[in-house]
Amino acid sequence: MSEPLLEVSDLQVYFPVYGKGLVPRHINDVKAVDGVTFQVGRGETLGLVGESGCGKTTTGLAVLRLIEPTGGSVVFDGVDLSTLDKRDLRLLRKRMALIFQDPYASLDPRMSIGAIVGEPLEIHRLTQTRADRDDRVGELLELVGLSPDYRNRYPHEFSGGQRQRVGIARALATEPDFIVCDEPIAALDVSIQAGIMNLLEDLQDELGLTYIFIAHDLSAVQHFSDRIAVMYLGRVVEVADRVALYETPQHPYTAALLSAVPVPNPAVQRTRQRIILEGDVPSPLNPPSGCSFHQRCPKAFEPCPHVDPALRTTKRDHDVACHLHDPALSGAAGA
C-alpha cells in the first residue's frame, strides 16, 4: 500500500434506541459500526464488502462525516475530520465525493442535468461566469460519456446507466482526490454495470483518484479493488490484497462469503465445495458475546463465545480478526 490518504481508526457509529413514553429514555444502541480500522493508500481502491446490515454504507458515510461518528477518528490527508468545524468541513468536501447506489433517487428531479452537475461548481465558486460553468459542465458530461447537449434535459429522461453517469460527473466536478462509491452498480442491469465499472476505472487512471468501493457483490469488488475489507456486524473481520483474499481467505466468514458467490460457469458452480452458513446475521442491537460470528461459524472453538478477537496482522498486508489465526490460541483449535 502506498502512503495512506485516509486513515480510519476505531470508528464507531451508534444509533440510539429510545423507549416509549412521554419522556423517551435512551435504552440501547444499534451498533451499526463498532470499531472499524483501515487505511486507504493514495490512488488505491479499497473494497468494502459485506451483507446487508454489516455497516458498510454507514462506514462510508461516517468517513465523509455525512453521519456523525460516535467515536474513533478519520484522518484525511493528515487532517482529523472530527476537529473541523462546519465551515472547514464544507471546504474539505471539495476534495471528497460520494457516488450513490440508486441513480433514480440521487438526482433532484426538479433540476436539469446541467444544474445538477454545475451545483458543486456553484457551491464552491469554482467558476466565475455562467459561460465558464456551462463549459465546465460540458467537459464533465463528455468525460463520463454523455453528450454536452443533454445539459438542459431532466433526470427522468435518462436510463439508469445514464443517470449514474450524471451522478459521477457531479462527483467529479470539484476535482476531488477521494470518492466513496456506495454500491454504484447494484441498481443497474448486468449489461450496464460493466460500462460503469470501466468508466470508474478509466477515471481513476486518468485523474489519480482514490476510491472506497462499497458493494455486496464480491465478484464486482474483487474485480474492482486493490485491497478488500470484509465486514460483518459492524466490524472489519479481514483485510487483504484482492488476490490473497480470494486465494487464501483466513476468516471463516470470508471463506463462506466467497463460496456463496455464484460463479457464472456451471462446471465450476456445480462442483466446488461450498460452505452454507446456518441461520441469519444476528441483530446489531444485541450482538453475540465474544466473536460476533461464533454462532454461525463452522470452525468455532473454545475461546470464540467468550473473547472478542482483535484484528491482527498475520501475514504481510493481511489482517484478520479470528482466534484461529492467533498463534497463542490456534494450537487448541488444531487448525
Binding site: 458515510l61 465523509l64 464544507r90 465525493a97 450513490f100 440521487s106 454523455l146 453528450s147 460500462g195
Partner: protein, 304 residues
C-alpha cells in the same frame, strides 16, 4: 451501427412531454376544474373592473324603490334602502377576493417557513414550533378568528390577520410533513455531500419538491378563507357598514327574507360559486400534481 465500447455515448430517447405540460394537460382534461378556472378568471376580472361594471353606486340610496324585485333596471333587485343589489355584489367581490388572497398569503408567509424549519431541523425546534401550531389548530377555526377579532377589534384588516393566523398551522403542517419525506431523499444527502449549506438545501432542493401539496392547499384554503370572511362579516366582525360584503349582505337580507329573498340569495350564490370554483380547481390541481396517480411504468420512464 457500432459504437466504440470505450466511449459509450448512449442515445437518449426522444424528448418526452415535459412535466409542466403534462400537469396542464391533466388539469384541462378535468371539466370541473376548467369551469372553475373560467369562473375564477371572470371573478377576478369583475373585481378589478368593479367600479366600471357596477351600474349604480354602492350607496346610492333610493327609498321609493326599496325592496323591488329583479327587473331590467335592477337585475338583482334592490335592498331595504333601495340600493342596487347587483352593484353591491360586484363591489363586494373585491373585498372577498382581497381578504381571501391576503389572508392566505399571510398564512403561507408564516406557515411555509415554519414547516420548512421544523421539518428540516427536527428535534427541539420542531417540537416547539409544532406544539405552538397544535395549540392554534386545536381551536375551531371560526371561534379562534372570532376570539382574535374580539381582541383586535372588528374590521377588514383585523379579519385578514385573524383568518391568516387560523390557516397558518395548516400550511405549517402540510409543509413539515412533505419536508420530512423529501429530506430523506438521497438527492438531499447528495447535496450535503457536495458541501451545500442548509439554506441552499432548503430553498434549492427541498422547497421546489414540496410545492405541489402547498399549491393545492393554497387553492383550497382560498375557498375556506372567503367562507370565513363571509361568516365574520355575517357576524358583523368583518367589513363594516356601509361597505358591502357578501356575508354582511346575507346577514342584512335575512331580515327581509320573506319580502325580498333576492337580497340574500344573490350574495349567497356569489359565495357558493366562488367557493366551489376554488374547490374544483384545487381538486383538479391535486389530481394533476399527485405523482402517485401515475403508474409505476410511466414514472420510471422507458424502463418497463
Amino acid at each position: 451501427m457500432t459504437v466504440a465500447p470505450s466511449t459509450p455515448m448512449e442515445r437518449l430517447p426522444e424528448k418526452p412531454v415535459s412535466r409542466s405540460r403534462e400537469i396542464w394537460q391533466t388539469l384541462i382534461a378535468n371539466r370541473l376544474a376548467v369551469a372553475g378556472l373560467v369562473v375564477l378568471a371572470l371573478l377576478v376580472l369583475m373585481a378589478v373592473l368593479a367600479e366600471v361594471i357596477a351600474p349604480f353606486g354602492i350607496n346610492d340610496i333610493d327609498i321609493p324603490n326599496r325592496l323591488t324585485g329583479p327587473s331590467m333596471s335592477h337585475w338583482f333587485g334592490t335592498d331595504d334602502l333601495g340600493r342596487d343589489v347587483l352593484s353591491r355584489v360586484i363591489i363586494a367581490s373585491r373585498v372577498s377576493l382581497q381578504v381571501g388572497f391576503i389572508a392566505v398569503g399571510f398564512a403561507l408567509a408564516f406557515g411555509v417557513p415554519i414547516g420548512l424549519v421544523a421539518g428540516y431541523y427536527r428535534g427541539k425546534t420542531d417540537s416547539i414550533l409544532m406544539r405552538l401550531m397544535d395549540i392554534l389548530f386545536s381551536f375551531p377555526a371560526i371561534l379562534l378568528a372570532i376570539a382574535i377579532l374580539a381582541v383586535l377589534g372588528p374590521g377588514i384588516r383585523n379579519a385578514m390577520v385573524a383568518i391568516g393566523l387560523v390557516y397558518t398551522p395548516i400550511f405549517a403542517r402540510i409543509t413539515r410533513g412533505s419536508v420530512i419525506v423529501v429530506s430523506e431523499e438521497v438527492y438531499i444527502r447528495a447535496a450535503r455531500s457536495l458541501g451545500a449549506r442548509d439554506g441552499r438545501i432548503i430553498f434549492r432542493h427541498i422547497l421546489p419538491n414540496v410545492l405541489a401539496p402547498i399549491i393545492v392547499q393554497t387553492t383550497l384554503s382560498l375557498a375556506f378563507a372567503i367562507l370565513s370572511e363571509a361568516a365574520l362579516s355575517f357576524l358583523g366582525l368583518g367589513v363594516q357598514p356601509p361597505n358591502p360584503a357578501w356575508g354582511r349582505m346575507l346577514a342584512e337580507g335575512r331580515n327581509f327574507f320573506q319580502q325580498a329573498p333576492w337580497m340574500g340569495i344573490f350574495p349567497g350564490v356569489a359565495i357558493l360559486v366562488t367557493v366551489m370554483s376554488f374547490n374544483f380547481v384545487g381538486d383538479g390541481l391535486r389530481d394533476a400534481l399527485d405523482p402517485k396517480q401515475k403508474s409505476v411504468i410511466e414514472s420510471r420512464g422507458q424502463s418497463v
